[in-house]
């Protein structure tokens, strides 16, 4: 088990290096610092001097990979690659265009992101499973048929619609909850309710339908017939036998996104004014703040890889047949 985790962690290193090289290529080679400067300065202010000044200000005035002017190891270290990309492995993200330390921003913004994402994850899972089990219980009846149709309709609606409609009706028209904003502590609950509700709603269609398929596949298996042949009631067959097997793909499929919950949701956070990592990212994209975007790419990949590892571990946890080696 320990050796397995260690091996997987070692396996993560080349992936992170790959991510790093890819982002480096995207942000510095294809799209040189000169281009960035031009984009940031705007067409009116582009002069060679202005570009140079911008690059010095933002620390992009060094060579990309090899500094011929420097000596010794500085030839490699005094470069954009080393200082901007490789430094991320030490969680040195540097500063954004607004001058603030990205690492600090990430630390303070994780909390609000989690405050939304975690409830959405847990409640969404519960709601979807319940809905799916109901459909399976009433399988091959009109209830199931219309349940599926409802799912298809729900998943055909744009996620933006749920947010806009939720904000408009619940917050603006009926004044039940604040339209946006965030606060810490118990007071923050009223701000969290609406985004959580809306996000859960938006996920029901595809989630419940997918889980229904999983449960239906299980219910066709031989062991279910055995359980019925024992004389168990349909409810018990469903909850004890089918659910237990169906939860294996559901849980392990959910675990992979668990670490990514820290990243928050771009759209929800920006609509509801949550000061989390999602809105941080979207602001950075819109302001074309490359330092922040790069940091978020790195963080996202890292969390994804952790998610993959957790998935494997959770498999050995919920499925007795799987042993990690």
């Amino acid at each position: 088990m320990f050796a397995y985790i260690l091996r997987r962690l070692l396996y993560a290193v080349p992936i992170l290096i790959g991510v790093n090289l890819l982002t480096f290529a995207l942000f510095f080679v294809v799209n040189t610092p000169d281009d960035m400067a031009r984009l940031q300065l705007g067409a009116k202010h582009v002069t060679p001097e202005a570009i140079e000044r911008w690059k010095v200000e933002h620390g992009y005035d060094k060579p990309l990979l090899l500094n011929a002017k420097a000596t010794g190891s500085a030839q490699l270290t005094d470069t954009i690659f080393f200082q901007r990309s490789a430094a991320m492995f030490a969680f040195e993200f540097g500063k954004g265009d607004d001058g603030r330390n990205i690492g600090n921003e990430i630390r303070t913004r994780m909390g609000p992101s989690l405050a939304i994402a975690l409830p959405v994850f847990v409640i969404g899972l519960l709601v979807n499973i319940t809905f799916a089990l109901l459909m399976v219980f009433f399988r091959a009846t009109y209830l199931d048929l219309w349940g599926v149709v409802l799912c298809v309709v729900l998943m055909s609606i744009s996620g933006l619609f749920y947010i806009i409609a939720g904000q408009y009706f619940i917050a603006k028209l009926w004044n039940l909850l604040p339209i946006s904003g965030f606060a810490g502590g118990i007071d923050g609950l009223r701000f969290i309710l609406l985004p959580v509700l809306v996000s859960v709603m938006a996920g029901i269609g595809s989630g419940a339908r997918w889980y229904r398929t999983i449960f239906l596949e299980e219910i066709g298996k031989d062991y279910v017939r055995t359980a019925r042949a024992k004389g168990l009631s349909e409810v018990r067959v469903l909850f004890r036998h089918v659910l237990k097997n169906g939860m294996i793909p559901i849980l392990t499929g959910a675990v992979v996104v668990l670490p990514l919950l820290f990243m928050g949701s771009l759209i929800t956070e920006s609509f509801f004014g949550i000061p989390g990592l999602g809105s941080y990212t979207i602001d950075a994209i819109q302001a074309q703040d490359f330092a922040v975007v790069r940091a978020m790419v790195f963080l996202g990949s890292l969390l994804y890889i952790v998610g993959l590892l957790l998935t494997d571990i959770s498999y050995s946890w919920v499925d007795p047949r799987v042993r990690l080696q």
Partner: protein, 658 residues
């Protein structure tokens, strides 16, 4: 005596409206307490559906249309679902064919048994566990306390099926329905499980409905027999009468299609195949395949007729010609030549096991460990063994579908290396076990047959089309076969296509990997006859990989018995099967259920399961299960001991006796 179960005119359909398939049509029978009633039939004849109808566990879309099912005084059809649940498991219990699939993979064995105990006996707490342990003891699971705490995947096939039985017994049912309970098991394990079932039935005076396709299993276990065909019961009678004088033409042909010791000639085959249920049926359902059918048979469905204690549905009942005695011939040994077509020396296939941080190889699964064999042109060598003994791996390694770890393969005088593999592929081909997975469903039959010729450039491209037609004729398929897709064919026809594919490159050796084990008896006979004809006309040599000893006796000239990757006994078929020397072969031969009543030495039952090839026992691999094992068996692997006539064994016990 009042019967325990009475089924009257049961009709079951699957599907709705005009598309409904009548899978069970007017079946009636009775089972008394303490009696075993065998329902015999080929796949798709409706025997499983009959059982599921009794339990009211039909798959979605299935329903009982009419008929009467009475268990004691209970009218099973009239019960509300709530009461039916008390009957299921409590009054009648069922065990299924595939124990791996029929047990819940993520719930511990003990809990699965306890569930039934709680439900039907109202036990709680420690009492439940004690009862569960007692049940496991009763079905002969060793070390029951520990087994309660394991998951199904941790058990071997035989133990899993015992757990299934224990679970079925938990509700102390009066009727036990066993649906092909041993079909998925090896023959030595099958014998163990059937023993358990027999003793339990006697002990608890249960009625038992045994569903099987295996005449041997019926002969050894049943009191009465019902034969099903295409959804109908066609014959019924006490076992002894049925086996001595089957009355329905179908039953008779089933017997004759079965290869039996001493067979030399051709097997009788039933032409055609079991009708599909969506075909319109008029008259006797067997009429299209019946050699005795008269005009009346095709128009009028026959009624039951009684003949000396048997019941049979046939217009010609009692009027059929007497059964002819089967000719007993011995193999002609004329084709024997000195030169071996295939010579294999020291073949080894080891699969590495990797573990740890850097995936170091920590050991090997010795799937095939030092196998030496030879086959002469025009002759058949049967490689016999239970599942997991490495016999299929030998076949694949010979064709280099799996890269052998060591060993020398000489084919037609030429040593096969990585360089001249194409020589090998022109001379040796393979026929696979499962006719459904061995043909690409997306290719037409002609394309399938052309593939090998194209790849190995056999003949001129222009002649290959004609060759396809020639091949199809050779395996007895109609000419228009080439333009159709495999799904249009039945299992037996598919296997013919697979044989034609192997023959397309005119090989001299065909490796047949259990080519008939997925087929029904009547179709198996057709394929065996075909293989024999092809051998006679083309001078083919076969390496016939199988676990079915009856087939071996029919087809093979020589036999090699494999156990855990090694050949333990080798010799001419008659010698090995009729006078086996190795304790394992002895057990194997005696474990096969026979139609004839057993004579000669008593049945030898092997204890336990075949160990894993990952970690084979030291010394002789067989010693933990061997009744004659001594100290030397635990220490060293035995050498060959010749017992005459090219017959040899690897056994210390035999060597000691000689």
């Amino acid at each position: 005596m009042k019967p325990l179960l009475r089924v009257d005119q049961l009709v079951t359909e699957i599907g709705h409206g005009a598309d409904a398939l009548r899978v069970v049509d007017g079946v009636s029978f009775q089972i008394a307490a303490g009696e075993t009633y065998a329902l015999l039939g080929e796949s798709g004849c409706g025997k499983s559906m009959t059982a599921l109808s009794l339990m009211r566990l039909l798959p979605d879309g299935g329903r009982i249309v009419s008929g009467d099912i009475r268990l004691g005084e209970t009218d099973v059809r009239a019960l509300p679902e709530r009461d039916m649940r008390r009957v299921r498991g409590g009054q009648m219990a069922m065990i299924f064919q595939e124990p791996m699939l029929a047990l819940n993979p993520v719930i511990k064995v003990g809990e699965q048994i306890a569930e039934a105990l709680v439900l039907h006996q109202g036990l709680r707490g420690q009492a439940t566990w004690d009862a569960a342990r007692a049940l496991l003891d009763a079905v002969g699971v060793p070390d029951a306390t520990r087994r309660l705490d394991t998951y199904p995947f941790e058990l071997s096939g035989g133990l899993r099926q015992r757990v299934m039985i224990a679970m079925a017994l938990a509700g102390q049912p009066r009727l036990l329905i066993a649906d092909e309970p041993t079909t998925a098991l090896d023959v030595t394990i099958q014998a163990q499980v059937l023993d358990v079932l027999r003793s339990l039935r006697a002990e608890r005076q249960m009625g038992m409905l045994l569903i099987t396709h295996d005449l041997g299993v019926v002969a050894e276990n049943a009191d009465r027999v019902g034969v099903m065909y295409a959804g109908e019961l066609v014959e019924e009678g006490a076992r002894d009468v049925f086996f001595s004088a089957p009355q329905h033409p179908y039953s008779r042909m089933l017997f004759e299609a079965l290869p039996r010791p001493g067979d030399g000639g051709r097997l009788t085959t039933i032409p055609g195949q079991v009708p599909k249920l969506d075909d319109p049926m008029r008259g006797c359902r067997f009429a299209p395949r019946c050699p005795f059918a008269v005009a009346r048979c095709r128009d009028e469905s026959p009624d039951w007729q009684a003949i000396n204690g048997q019941r049979v549905r046939c217009h010609l009942a009692g009027a059929l010609p007497a059964r002819s005695a089967r000719e007993v011939t011995t193999h002609a040994n004329s084709t024997q030549t000195a030169q071996a077509l295939l010579q294999v020396d020291g073949l080894k296939v080891h699969f590495p096991i990797r573990r740890g941080l850097i995936q170091r190889t920590v050991g090997h699964v010795r799937a095939v460990d030092d196998v030496t064999l030879s086959i002469q042109a025009g002759r058949t060598l049967a490689l016999v063994g239970e599942s997991g003994c490495g016999k299929t791996t030998v076949g694949k390694a010979l064709l280099r579908l799996i890269e052998p770890t060591a060993g020398r393969i000489v084919l037609g005088g030429e040593t096969i290396t990585a360089k001249n593999v194409s020589t090998l592929r022109r001379q040796a081909q393979m026929v696979f076990q499962d006719p459904f997975s061995s043909l690409n469903p997306r290719m037409r039959v002609a394309g399938i047959l052309l593939e090998g010729m194209d790849a190995l450039r056999v003949g001129a491209a222009s002649e290959r089309r004609d060759a396809v037609a020639q091949l199809l004729r050779q395996v007895g398929l109609p000419d228009d076969t080439g333009g159709r897709y495999p799904h249009a064919f039945s299992g037996g026809q598919r296997q013919r296509i697979a044989i034609a594919r192997a023959l397309a490159v005119s090989p001299r050796l065909v490796i047949c990997d259990e080519p008939t084990s997925a087929l029904d008896v009547s179709v198996q006979a057709q394929i065996l006859n075909l293989l024999k004809d092809l051998q006679d006309s083309l001078g083919l040599a076969y390496l016939f990989i199988t676990h079915n000893l009856a087939v071996v006796e029919y087809l093979a000239h020589e036999v090699a018995v494999m156990y855990l990757g090694r050949i333990v006994e080798h010799g001419a078929t008659g010698d090995v099967l009729r006078a086996p020397c190795h304790p394992y072969t002895l057990a194997l031969v005696s474990a096969v259920p026979r139609i004839e009543l057993q004579t000669g030495p008593g049945i030898i039952r092997l204890a336990g399961d075949q160990p894993s090839p990952l970690n084979p026992p030291s010394g002789c691999h067989f010693h933990p299960r061997c009744p004659h094992a001594s100290e030397v068996c635990r220490q060293t692997y035995p050498d060959q001991t010749a017992v005459g006539g090219g017959h040899w064994v690897r056994c210390h016990w035999v060597a000691g006796q000689a």
